[in-house]
Symmetry: C2
Amino acid sequence: MSRAERLLSLMDEFRTHRRPVSGTDLAQNLGVSIRTLYRDIASLRALGADIEGEPGVGYVLNSGFMLPPIMFTVEEVDALVLGSLWVADKADRPMAEAARKAMARLTAVMPVELSDRTEAKYLDVTPGHHGEHESIDMAAIRSAIHHERKISVTYTDAAGKASERVIWPFFISYLDGARMISAWCELRESIRHFRTDRMVSLTEMPTRYPRRRHDLIKDWRALESRKFPHK
Amino acid sequence: MSRAERLLSLMDEFRTHRRPVSGTDLAQNLGVSIRTLYRDIASLRALGADIEGEPGVGYVLNSGFMLPPIMFTVEEVDALVLGSLWVADKADRPMAEAARKAMARLTAVMPVELSDRTEAKYLDVTPGHHGEHESIDMAAIRSAIHHERKISVTYTDAAGKASERVIWPFFISYLDGARMISAWCELRESIRHFRTDRMVSLTEMPTRYPRRRHDLIKDWRALESRKFPHK
DNA sequence: AGGGCAGTGTCAGAAAGTGGCAGTAGTCTA
DNA sequence: TAGACTACTGCCACTTTCTGACACTGCCCT
């Protein structure tokens, strides 16, 4: 195992621990000495990893992961840039912010001669209809989907009538200017779609929903293709 | 200079040469022996660089550049994925293809636990109105912009009337389902916008346009903000 | 054919990385 | 408070990897 590979493995190791992990444990898992482990952590930090370490406690990787060196073509970068512009303009606020940050990271390491391209000096998405931003936290929905947890929402329909729902969200669709959540609705006992701008409030629930997200998506796609058999 | 840095510098070196460059020259520029240069090139090829070498001719980098190790957060990846989905669905064909390739490259190096996210298992843009795909080659327009060259187009307006134009393209705007080129038009002697789906034919010209793209964009933005002073 | 070039293997020496050790300093718990 | 547990840094001998020099093979172009 080369050093570069070991650094990647070390990043993976952090992510397998939900609580602080000691340097000694990490070193043992990687088959290196504690001194080398300290050097590796210093190297990762130099590369931008957000690793926190407290004496007597251990290490925590606050967020993120490392990608190894990658080859890209100029066209591929254009595509990433264009996509990020769209997300920054049209998606929910946390997502828009993430797109900006992603582009900043890419720009920081990009050869300077390509700065025109990463800085989108000559292309853009039309500044258009932003739609109504949702008041609820989209990151909470993404987290609920990822962890397959129920959420409780106060939802108003097109007529403005409010209802309380416990739903199992499993998919996010991005319309131009709005977001739609596909979820199993306990009230209606079937799959329903919810616009995020009509969610008045949202409460994360600790309960896992009793079906796998993967299966819900399968059912939903089967349902959708019966309705719209173009795919 | 570490070896990793030198590999990046070597990629930069290729891009400064428009014709084949000999290994000896490259080695000299980097301050290493020819033997080491050969090893470096082997390493870059192993990383996916498209480097061609012919005895008696020299090396050519066919395309691309290398990014060093980068840290990303999960949210940032989501944003890149979402953006790529939009580009793949709504942009011109070459751009859409580039987005798919970019995502493939990222997916290939991503930790497996994140595959749900990079494979967009739980988010998507609405499959919607694709608009009319242009018959002209968008890559040619991007090239013309990048090299600040004129193009000659046969353009039909909304009424279907065709005209020949020599234009200096400097910006691409992406609408939902269509692309619009902002360019100086020699016929109208002013800045005009052209939908790419109304360009019947396009011929690249070797002539550089006599103004800097940067300046054209400045004028255009000044004009646009006089028309729409919301920015 | 000759010049110019890409390419590979080998090996001694150079450079980078590792592990062990000593020491400093902080957190947590009994 | 003391002790166990932990993060951290500098130093140095040893280990591993990389480099340059050399010899050799083979291809392209004029």
